[in-house]
């Protein structure tokens, strides 16, 4: 665990820990919903990558913006979302963040500045950069963070928007979650050269960070977010991390592309939650008992939310042609 130069307050430290636990717990429940055939469609688990979303989002204000990905539950929770509205969305229920219309891959929570998950790999890179343009033009002081995977670095859009962000000094942080794989392919097979060098070539200050060390991620993020707010952006982060599950919940037999040993190594030796838990206890932030209690609380929260969502109503069929346009109630009426 990185030795923070700035002493973390107990509040800050515990909040980060809790948020990581919340993400893991959310995902375990979502996976369970899939396995028990209670969830429509497929979904992509963020488990293992919690320190990335939490380390960054804890450096942001609720008014700061993020854009998220197909693997977006972690970003959504980390940016302040509520379990009930999230589970409702995953189950296609009316009380979901998007009234069930978006689902896992489009979950958005604009009240907390989450402009939405995106099912087009790399599809939100322009959106995040545009949010940063708004900040600059309206002088709101908002910072925008664009989350995306290593696979998304193959999308040309990234280079187009990084170029403009650099030319215009936009307050945007590109956060590349390098979990070593895009679907069933290793990163080295799809990414030539160096990912951070690509951003640097556009004159963007870039960093590679241990994405399993929430304190390291948070400390760097705090610095860069502050600087971006002052107009010193953009920045680029490559966060080295790992996804514990398959590409999606249905990707169960995956030895043909990823060794079990490798998975075990990451889970046992680098888990961001285990590491932080040890650190919290060592540094006197919390007792083992308090942390167990926290775990229990979060577990209950999640279970209640799942229960709630399972019983919640679907949107009425009349909703099908609503929200196509802002100014037409039922477009097919």
């Amino acid at each position: 665990m990185s030795n923070s130069k700035r002493k973390l307050s107990a509040d800050e430290a515990m909040r980060m820990f809790r948020q990581m636990v919340r993400i893991r717990t959310f995902e375990n429940n979502a996976n369970q919903l899939y396995l028990s055939a209670k969830m429509p469609g497929l979904t992509h688990m963020y488990s293992g990558e919690e320190a990335v979303a939490v380390g960054i989002c804890e450096a942001l204000l609720p008014t700061d913006k993020i854009t998220s990905t197909h693997r977006g539950h972690g970003h959504c929770v980390a940016k302040g979302a509520d379990f009930k509205a999230m589970f409702c969305e995953l189950l296609g229920k009316e009380e979901g963040y998007c009234r069930g219309k978006g689902g896992s891959m489009h979950i958005a929570d604009q009240s907390n500045g989450n402009l939405g998950a995106n099912a087009i790999v790399g599809g939100s890179m322009g959106i995040a950069t545009g949010a940063a343009l708004t900040s600059k033009l309206k002088k709101t002081g908002d910072v925008a963070v664009c989350f995306f995977g290593d696979g998304a670095t193959a999308q040309g859009l990234m280079y187009e928007v990084m170029n403009m962000a650099a030319l215009w000094n936009l307050p945007v942080i590109y956060a590349c979650e390098n979990n070593g794989y895009s679907e069933y392919t290793k990163t080295e097979e799809i990414a030539a050269g160096s990912i951070t060098a690509r951003a640097e070539a556009f004159g963007i200050e870039s960093y590679q960070v241990d994405g399993q060390d929430v304190i390291a991620v948070n400390e760097l993020s705090q610095k860069l977010v502050d600087r971006a707010r002052k107009g010193e952006g953009p920045f680029f982060l490559e966060l080295m991390t790992y996804r514990y599950h398959g590409h999606h919940v249905g990707d169960i037999n995956r030895e043909y592309y990823r060794a079990k040993d490798e998975e075990a190594d990451w889970k046992e030796n680098r888990d961001p939650i285990i590491r932080m838990r040890a650190w919290l206890v060592e540094n006197g932030y919390a007792t083992e008992e308090a942390l167990d209690e926290l775990h229990k609380e979060v577990t209950e929260d999640a279970e209640n939310a799942v229960e709630y969502a399972l019983n919640a109503p679907y949107p009425d069929v009349s909703e099908v042609d609503m929200h196509v346009y802002t100014d037409v109630k039922h477009v097919l009426a």
């Binding site: 219309k101 322009g126 950069t129 309206k138 346009y325 802002t326």
Partner: protein, 331 residues
Amino acid sequence: MRKITLSKAVNEALAEEMRHDESVIILGEDVAEAGTPFKVLSGLVEEFGTDRVIDTPISEPGFMGIGVGAAMTGMRPVVDLMFGDFIFLIMDQLCNQAAKTHYMSGGKLNVPLVLRTNMGATRRSAAQHSQSLHAIVAHIPGLKVAMPSSAYEAKGLLKTAIRDDNPVVIFEDKLMYQDSAEVPEEEYSIPFGEACVKREGTDITLIGTSSMVQVCEKAAEMLQAVGISAEVIDPRTIVPLDEKTLVESAKKTGRVIVVDEGHQSFGVTSEIASRINEKAFYHLDAPTTRMGAMDVPIPFSPALEDITVPTPERVFEQAKKLVSGELIDAA
């Protein structure tokens, strides 16, 4: 009333809306000092500065995406796409992102963005700078599509587009930038979804979009000379489409030709013809005829290019045939 060019009308609409609302910005290639290659935006950067009239690199997907993000967070970007043909480069940002955001978010996020671009052949610009691609955009729910047929419509529709909270695509005919029309000095706007009956008639209805309205009007005059009374209608927006006005006219005249500069197959004329056939079938004396651009890439050679798009003469000939019942045999 004063007459101004379509180019000037667009320029005025932008200037007025930019004065009216600080959130309105322009994003695109060479929009600032150069005022675009068509000089449509001349003078705007001088009044509004480079913070609001923003020159971009040649990154259409990129600046369209930035426009979407800016729109989602409080700006009202007018994205300038130099040629309509480049819409193929931004389809993902336009159709997968902008068009669907409001719906996918259950009504929580808006994308008040205008994509200003152009269309139209016969400029000797060849296959990648001459297309009229409005049909493919109109197919995607969540987008509105406006097609001004004169300076008057260009100004009024653009103002409405900018104030609309939805993504709107507006196609200007690049051959019409220097065409003049009467445009009031005082402020006005044109609502979406209201067709304009440009000329009343009783024997046949000619429906035209964009520059094809002029083609229909010329054909109508030629028809008048031979004693045929043609009604000419400009839908002005194809999404939303003022089906009512079109269907009523069809019911009245019993014969319809739809003229549009996009490729005919799987194009706008098919949609309009289908709606008319569905809603006015038992009033029609002849099948609704479609006249679009030929289903070929636009050729460069002047000898070939000019015959790819509908002309007043050909609309006139077709109308005569329809009215005289000549086409009955063909069917």
